[in-house]
Symmetry: C2
Subunit: 304 residues, 2 copies
């Protein structure tokens, strides 16, 4: 699936991922009126997401759906997550389920079935939340990641494991130094490169990517140099403080190597003065185009 | 909530947690017949869980509901997770949602609302999956844990963060040595102790516990010595290879300090020859009692 994502990025000249971290409070006031239960909130969130997806699907290659923002509305919210994933895939977007799942092997296998693989039932192979890519957390080591890699191979999917996250205190743990001189995040990065080594696609990137925050350019630069075959999912652009100049280091000489997520900067763009007069999905589309130009001004033309 | 759990453990003289990792395949054949969609599977899983809960609720203080086994049946499965959590709480069990959630602060806050706190909607405070305790993963550092700690204080809840997990390859990352001579899992343990320091209850344990596998007794012993105020959630007993003798090191001089999870050993006990003639919930109850005796034979009487 990484090849498909890279192809779409080149085709659109846009390494952008639209983050559907759709808190109910992000919806325009008129969409929130009269809502007082999870099922109603979930329906409005789904409607909002579908309109955003319609607005961005021909200018952005991918969406990232952050499941925490759906779980907080109960199983009805989780249904909205499903509906959003399905709708986005139907529109040809590469869909990243941002769930940061992790557990021991037997349990990781269940998560993998849920988001990447299949659940067998009554002789049928059913798909619970059929995403294209999934974020995971590698704290448990190889046997907690192996089930995902198996489904990647069987079903043409990808994962991104947390390496250097975008939050302010990520260094507290991730930048601890090991006795061999490596940092913890470097070691995790090497594990990720290792997990992906048998799945390298035609652009030189594997199906096992790394989450690397735009907000930590020094570490990102270091990781780009160390992890030749690892594609980056890059959060932190926009509201979290990352900008195009900071994330240039995540890309290779061809302008490839990562996809940059922006959530609030796109789905809440309608609240910004520069998009006054546009509705929320028109504003989201315009913000996507602006982000494409901003990144292209730094990266230049992406080509192979 | 940790005080309530410890009180129930003392009252029942049983530090057992019944793991409801209810794969559909674990159900007796007659309960699986004719099921070919997620909604039907979810209904049977819920029925199975409720009967198990009825069977164990007066001999075990807590249950741990592993959400991966529900997510694989879609949003209908997640509804079964909710129903199971609700039913177990109604029966007075301390309910641990085993979700190993983790993200940056703003997103962690959504997860916390979902499992520990409240979601505000139309002037009401609603609860999505109202558990008593939640497992989390601290790879992102303090600002990814803070939202959970705030809800712990506001709503009398607890969390358990992964420190030394029970899986075979946990050492690959967790037993890396830092330049100061500490192991990665020791450093994570110290962070956990720090995160909980303002929430120590009347038995000397805080609301921020640690997941420490029974399958790694050397590390468990080391952690018990280092983390005086940290209560342990101990997976790995039974099917994963841990036994009572191995997990003795997790407990303090009073026989307190941890709760031991057993999943397949209890919910699939009906398949074992020694429980022949019992149905699945009678077998689960008998396995709980046997586990209580096994652990008590090593720990002696728990008292304060």
């Amino acid at each position: 699936m990484i090849d498909k994502l890279i192809e779409k990025i080149i085709e659109m000249q846009n390494p952008t991922c639209v983050g559907l971290d759709t808190d109910f409070g992000y919806l325009p006031e008129e969409m929130r009126e009269g809502v007082s239960c999870f099922a109603e909130a979930a329906a409005r969130i789904t409607e909002f997401n579908k309109n955003i997806i319609d607005g961005v699907c021909d200018v952005a290659p991918s969406v990232k759906v952050q499941i925490a923002y759906y779980e907080m509305y109960g199983h009805e919210g989780v249904k909205a997550f499903y509906d959003t994933v399905e709708y986005a895939r139907g529109k040809g977007l590469v869909v990243i389920a941002d769930c940061k799942r992790n557990d021991i092997g037997s349990t990781a296998s269940c998560y993998s079935k849920a988001y990447l693989g299949e659940t067998a039932l009554g002789g049928k192979a059913l798909r619970a939340f059929p995403a294209d890519m999934l974020t995971v957390n590698g704290y448990l080591g190889t046997d907690g990641i192996k089930p995902f890699v198996e489904d990647i191979v069987a079903h043409d999917k990808s994962i991104f494991a947390l390496v250097k996250t975008s939050n302010p205190s990520s260094g507290e743990f991730q930048n601890l130094k090991l006795e061999n001189g490596e940092y913890v995040y470097e070691r995790m990065g090497s594990l990720v490169e290792e997990w992906g080594k048998d799945t390298v696609g035609r652009y030189g990137y594997s199906e096992v990517g790394a989450v690397v925050g735009a907000t930590h350019p020094e570490e990102a630069k270091n990781l780009r140099k160390r992890l030749k075959n690892t594609f980056f999912l890059i959060p932190g652009y926009g509201a979290q403080g990352g900008n195009a100049q900071m994330l240039k280091v995540c890309f290779d000489g061809r302008g490839l190597g990562g996809v940059v997520n922006n959530s609030r900067g796109i789905i809440c763009a309608y609240k910004k003065p520069e998009y006054a007069g546009k509705n929320y999905f028109e504003a989201a589309r315009a913000a996507c185009v602006a982000m494409q130009r901003d990144i292209a001004s730094v990266l230049g033309k992406m080509e192979v």
